[in-house]
């Protein structure tokens, strides 16, 4: 299925019109998602319906019997919960926010590009069943833009599932709520009254609501600018009315948001390194308003063709299993739950595929490779040359870069990122390095190892740059794996595939792959590798071919991930078989920090320090049953199967012969670690 890559800049319209105010006060008669009855359901109607639903009423009766708390009192509790959850819809607020947003966008952005034709198509098909917008989530900008875009194209502003962290921000919670956000508690708790109410609220919105619903399938904002493994909680709740035949179908619209520059880039860099995330406060928000004085280039939004749940599940789903018992006495079945992962991964894949690549993604890729693994710095001409080259390669792999004139785009994006990249006096490109002083840090809040100010100063620019490489890595991961394997020796397809499966399983959380042992992805990657002259066949064996430049670039780019994984395996090997998560992370980071500092031995990329990758590695090892995860007193701990671990590590070490970190690997026990901190 080919993707139509035509984008209109709708900010241009705002630029040209004489009065943004006129536009923002336009007649509002939006397309709704799912027509209901004769009158449109109001926010309060939904809350009342939830309270009066047999599900909640039954539950309250039960609790009341058990606890002797009168039912009315419980009803009040539910009402409070619903007020905490429920969205509101205040057109006035929407218009005012829209106006402010327009002003901001006009000052800090050059354009907001949207594939309008598809948007119009989706809009025209709306009306007959719930529509779920499922955007990538890599910035707070996502849902603001989603609502803004909806307003632009006269689509009803979606009801958005938002985390409670917003709720804490004074004023912001209310503002967001008034524009359609509803709130979900994040923390694990087993408050069954809360969750039953929340689930019923979603059930209500999907089956009896008429707004599009927006939620993030990754559950949280990705700090790495890469897709995260999907979460199934909300997806299950959203699909329940379909499983129960309460709606004819559900349309999921995957949406890709890409930003020339991400608002939260430095925050993310810190977070990735393990500096605890500051609680979102309004003053923090206003601080980020200051950033808005800067230039953020373009935003690209691609709405993909909807995925119909009905079509997707096809005959695998038998909804008649729900016919014999009252619906409110039933839950989503285990069989139904097994249908979710393929759908979730399909949505994620589609998001990744449609995401627009920015020129800065390419610049970062080239620049990172240069700074990390090459001896001579790049001039602008050399950069442009390589960017053009890699753009063509990406195109052949299905990626789309938005630019009309690549030289100009490079200039533009370097201006946008002048806080990160600069031209030195010799006209060569370097990273801006601002000294970082962490001041007083509460060590208890650290997720991993306390990194020194020097390490931070050195690492943050690299990590920030990596954030812009990450979104295009999924185009290359399969090829990389093949190259890394063939680098050890030529081999036949079966051997190659076996090793490929091993690495791909290990990386399946870092680079979202579903069914990592699937041959079709392997075959596709092989075809690409061969046509890019990275690999060829000689006497029935595959071997590395002549395109060394591309080969190096790919292998270099991914090396940091290998290092992280390797370091984790090494540390796990040396730790006792039951260990808490923080000890693992701290030890791995410590090992890597030492290796990074010792630059003469080997270049270790600072991104290898990032906790995201380390956590993905641990989770993959859990998937592979190397680790067993337990959670006690809000602390993650692991039990290590040392035999399996050794297998994995030995297997993995075959690809790490260049790497010297094993020599320096030693464990700091917990007490020692804390003393040092």
């Amino acid at each position: 299925m080919s993707i139509v890559r035509e984008y209109d800049n709708f900010l241009e319209l705002r630029k040209q019109e004489t009065s943004n105010f006129l536009w923002i006060s336009k007649k509002w008669n939006p397309q709704i998602a799912f027509k209901q009855g004769s009158t449109r359901p109001s926010p309060q109607y939904h809350k009342d319906a939830v309270l009066n639903s047999p599900k909640i009423q039954d539950l309250l009766e039960q609790i009341s019997l058990k606890t002797n708390v009168p039912k009315v009192e419980l009803e009040h509790q539910v009402k409070d919960i619903l007020d905490e959850i429920g969205y509101e819809k205040k057109l006035k607020v929407i218009r005012w926010l829209g106006l402010i947003l327009t002003k901001i966008c006009l000052t800090v952005l050059s354009g907001i590009y949207v594939n309008v034709e598809q948007v119009e198509q989706i809009k025209n098909q709306m009306g007959n069943c719930p529509v779920i917008f499922v955007p990538t989530h890599r910035s707070y900008g996502d849902f603001i833009m989603m609502s803004y875009l909806s307003f632009q194209y006269d689509i009803e502003i979606p009801a958005i599932a938002a985390g409670m962290d917003f709720f804490g921000m004074w004023g912001m919670g209310t503002l967001l709520r008034d524009t359609g956000a509803f709130f979900m508690r994040r923390s694990y708790n087993d408050d069954s009254l809360y969750w039953t109410t929340f689930k019923q609220y979603i059930y209500q919105l999907v089956s009896k609501g008429d707004l599009p619903i927006e939620f993030f399938i990754e559950g949280t904002r990705s700090r790495s600018n890469k897709s995260l493994t999907p979460k199934y909680g909300l997806l299950t709740m959203v699909l329940k009315p379909f499983f129960f035949s309460q709606v004819p179908d559900i349309q999921f619209v995957p949406i890709g948001f890409s930003y020339d520059r991400i608002l939260e880039e430095s925050l993310f860099a810190f977070e990735l390194l393990g500096v605890p995330k500051p609680k979102e406060t309004t003053s923090g928000f206003f601080k980020s308003m200051k950033i808005l004085k800067e230039n953020f280039g373009n935003i690209y939004i691609h709405m993909d063709k909807p995925i119909s749940a009905k079509e997707f599940f096809g005959s695998k789903l038998d909804r008649s299993v729900h016919n014999l018992t009252p619906l409110h006495k039933q839950e989503v079945t285990e069989d139904e739950k097994t249908l979710l992962p393929p759908l979730a991964y399909e949505i994620l894949n589609r998001q990744q595929k449609v995401l627009v690549t920015t020129v800065f993604n390419l610049v970062s890729l080239v620049l990172n490779n240069n700074l990390a693994y090459e001896t001579e710095l790049l001039s602008m001409e050399e950069l442009a040359c390589d960017v053009k080259w890699i753009r063509e390669i990406l195109r052949s792999l299905g990626g789309f870069t938005h630019t009309t004139n690549i030289e100009r785009s490079i200039d533009d994006c370097l201006k946008t990122h002048k806080n990160l990249v600069y031209l030195n006096r010799k006209g060569k490109l370097k990273l801006v390095r601002n000294p970082i002083s962490q001041g007083e840090i509460n060590h208890k809040k650290l997720k991993g190892h306390y990194l020194s100010d020097d390490t931070m100063t050195y690492s943050v620019p690299f990590v920030t740059l990596q954030i812009y490489i990450n979104p295009i890595l999924h185009y290359f991961i399969d090829i990389d794996i093949i190259l890394v394997i063939l680098d050890t020796r030529p081999m036949n397809e079966d051997e190659l595939f076996e090793s490929y499966c091993f690495l791909r399983c290990l990386f399946s959380r870092e680079f979202i792959t579903f069914a990592p042992k699937d041959k079709t992805a392997f075959n596709a990657a092989m075809n690409d590798a061969i046509s890019l002259n990275l690999v060829n066949l000689n006497n029935g064996k595959y071997q590395l071919a002549n395109n060394k430049k591309l080969g190096m670039l790919i292998v270099n780019t991914f090396y940091t991930f290998y290092v992280s994984f390797f370091a984790t395996l090494l540390i796990l090997e040396r730790l006792p078989s039951v260990v808490d998560e923080k000890s693992i992370l701290a030890n791995v980071q410590k090992l890597l920090e030492d290796a990074i500092v010792d630059k003469h031995k080997e270049f270790i990329h600072p991104y290898s320090l990032n906790l995201d990758t380390l956590a993905n590695c641990l989770n993959s090892l859990v998937d592979e049953k190397v680790l067993q995860k337990t959670r006690r007193d809000n602390v993650n701990a692991y039990e290590i199967n040392k035999i399996k671990l050794k297998d994995v590590k030995d297997n993995f070490a075959r690809y790490m012969t260049r790497c010297s970190i094993e020599e320096r690997c030693q464990i700091i026990n917990k007490i020692h670690l804390q003393n040092k901190l």
């Binding site: 004769s38 069943c129 309460q246 709606v247 004819p248």
Partner: protein, 600 residues
């Protein structure tokens, strides 16, 4: 014929002169629905009329149809050339006669009327599904009965069944031929001789028992004859399926039919007191006529819904009721379908149902307006709606509002209270009474609507109906889901002009009945029967997925066999087959209904 025939009867059976002659085609369309003289006709280019004076809209201009047909189906009645259909089939059309002279010779000795003429055989080879009518009009059936036989009493049937059993000849009982499940059709691969057993000449009223309020009828009596005869005596059965002009008592039982006024009189299973069914293993019947028995499983329920596959129903004892003192129509408009359903649910909860209560969805409501015979000045049907909207029901969205039709049957006092209750209650649901005429028109329309398919068929528009029953809480979503699936599937099939609407036609304590109409223009899209088959299958799958049943009253026949097993469970299928093997070991009632022969 047709007028009351009781004058010359004193004691003993009442011989009923049926409206429907033995040569059915003399009165009834051989390749369409209903009376020959009643049909939609186009006069002077684009004016549509309904011919004949049998129905209230007869011989009146129907000015809105033209524009509506253009809008909905993109058919211009003024220029479109009606399709040419097959002529009445003659002997050449079906050259094969699969019966030996010896058998015919033996049959002739029974002194029971029979025929091997093609026209007689073709007419009894089918029911009323789209597939069957389309075949009649455009091609030939792969298999038709070889002999038609007209028994006149129970004993005749016993003789025929025994003879067929001995000679391994297939019998397919035939009542009024109104089935809409493919039930009367011959299995195409049947190698044995097939006899169509036409019950129409077995239609006497054997006796009436006014003390116990029951009557004994022969199974071939058709609804309108039965009611006409009873009316003279001051009674009614109250069983009134929309097909009651032509469908037979035996057919009702064999398909578990349901009448419009079941709220007062009950469905066929409620009316049935005693039934005789002739099987190869003897006649299944009971020893008494008690109102209810606790004596093991009730075999009435084996006969009900047997769809001709277990034996021939011959004599039936039904409940009868004195004619109601008062009959009155009514209607209520609601702002939306959902509100209407809520109201209906409440009425059912309170058990306030009048004889009939039906709710048309918005599309059907509009359609009803289209059929308004008006010498009006409105150029366009929509104007009529608008007018109706502006003048009568301000504040309602003409694209959302719905009409409920009501029929009351009781004594005046009861009707009055019932009316008042309903009209008061409806206000809580945003509805208000919209008069008697609207109600009456609604019921008249259900009879006329059956005729409109024949008009469409001439212009490449095919139509069909299907129904289901479901729990109350699933009704609205079921309707929505089915409409969605049909629209989706039409899009996939390339059908751009289609209509799918529905009405809620019956209420029960625990659920309701939903009746859908589906029609589409198949010009340049492909074989309409195949397309429709696909649409109806998808719709039924969606119904079943949405909590609905395989059928409320149309039955399974051959059309819905696919869902029989999953509906009654494997054990259920086994039970049915055991009964089948016991009563009909040679499978001479090889109707192929419910379960395919292959499995028997």
């Amino acid at each position: 014929m047709g007028e009351n025939s009781q004058k010359n009867q004193l004691n003993g059976p009442i011989i009923v002169n049926s409206v429907v002659p033995k040569n059915r085609q003399e009165l009834i369309k051989w390749n369409g629905w209903g009376y020959n003289d009643s049909k939609f006709v186009i006069k002077g280019g684009s004016e549509v009329y309904f011919s004949g004076r049998r129905y209230p809209i007869g011989e009146q201009r129907l000015p809105h149809i033209y524009g509506w047909v253009k809008d909905v189906f993109d058919v211009d009645l003024s220029t479109a050339v009606p399709k040419k259909f097959n002529d009445l089939p003659d002997e050449k059309a079906y050259p094969n006669l699969n019966v030996t002279p010896e058998i015919l010779e033996k049959i002739s000795h029974f002194n029971i009327s029979f025929s091997t003429k093609v026209i007689d055989r073709v007419i009894r080879a089918h029911g009323q599904t789209l597939h069957e009518i389309y075949t009649l009009q455009n091609s030939v059936f792969p298999r038709i009965p070889d002999v038609v036989i007209w028994p006149t009493c129970h004993e005749d049937v016993v003789k025929i069944v025994n003879f067929c059993h001995e000679n391994n000849i297939v019998i397919i009982p035939y009542g009024g031929g109104t089935a809409v499940s493919g039930a009367p059709e011959c299995p195409p691969d049947e190698q044995r001789t097939i006899v169509s057993l036409d019950t129409s000449q077995m239609n006497r009223i054997l006796w009436l028992d006014k003390e116990n309020l029951v009557g004994c009828f022969e199974s071939g009596i058709v609804g309108q004859d039965l009611e006409r005869e009873l009316k003279v005596l001051g009674f009614t059965t109250g069983h009134e399926p929309d097909s009651y002009e032509f469908s037979s008592l035996g057919g009702w039982i064999a398909t578990r039919a349901s009448g419009m006024k079941k709220n007062v009189y009950g469905n066929i299973e409620d009316l049935l007191v005693h039934v005789k069914m002739v099987t190869p293993r003897g006649t299944l019947e009971k020893s008494c006529q008690a109102p209810r028995l606790s004596c093991g499983p009730d075999f009435n329920h084996l006969v009900l819904g047997s769809e001709g596959s277990l034996g021939v129903i011959t004599e039936v004892v039904l409940k009868i009721r004195p004619l109601p003192k008062c009959q009155k129509y009514g209607s209520i408009v609601f702002p939306s379908f959902e509100k209407g359903v809520e109201f209906m649910r409440e009425v059912a909860k309170r058990r306030w149902q009048p004889a009939s209560i039906r709710l048309m969805d918005n599309d059907q409501f509009k359609f009803a307006l289209i059929l308004k015979p008006e010498s009006s000045y409105f150029a366009h049907a929509l104007d009529a709606i608008k007018k109706f909207y502006v003048t009568t029901i301000k504040g309602f969205d003409p694209n959302r509002m719905c009409v409920m039709t009501l029929l009351f049957e009781a004594d005046e006092k009861q009707v009055e209270t019932n009316e008042k209750n309903l009209y008061d209650l409806c206000k809580t649901f945003g509805g208000f009474p919209a008069g008697e005429t609207n109600g009456e028109r609604g019921y008249m329309l259900t009879f006329v609507i059956a005729y409109i398919r024949d008009l469409g068929l001439q212009f490449e528009v095919v139509a069909e109906s299907f129904e289901t029953s479901c729990p109350w809480d699933r009704a609205v979503t079921l309707v929505r889901n089915v409409k969605h699936v049909v629209a989706d599937e039409c899009r996939l099939l390339g059908i751009t002009r289609f209509l799918i609407n529905c009405r809620v036609t019956q209420t029960y304590d625990a659920g309701c009945v939903i009746y859908f109409y589906l029609a589409f223009n198949h010009r340049n899209v492909g074989d309409p029967v195949r397309l429709h088959g696909r649409l109806e299958t998808r719709a039924r799958e969606e119904i079943v997925s949405s909590g609905g049943s395989v059928s409320h009253h149309h039955g399974v026949g051959k059309l819905r066999r696919k869902w029989y097993g999953s509906t009654v469970s494997e054990a259920g299928v086994g039970l049915y087959m055991a009964a089948k093997r016991q009563l009909d070991p040679k499978n001479i009632f090889a109707t192929d209904n419910l379960v395919t022969q292959a499995k028997l």
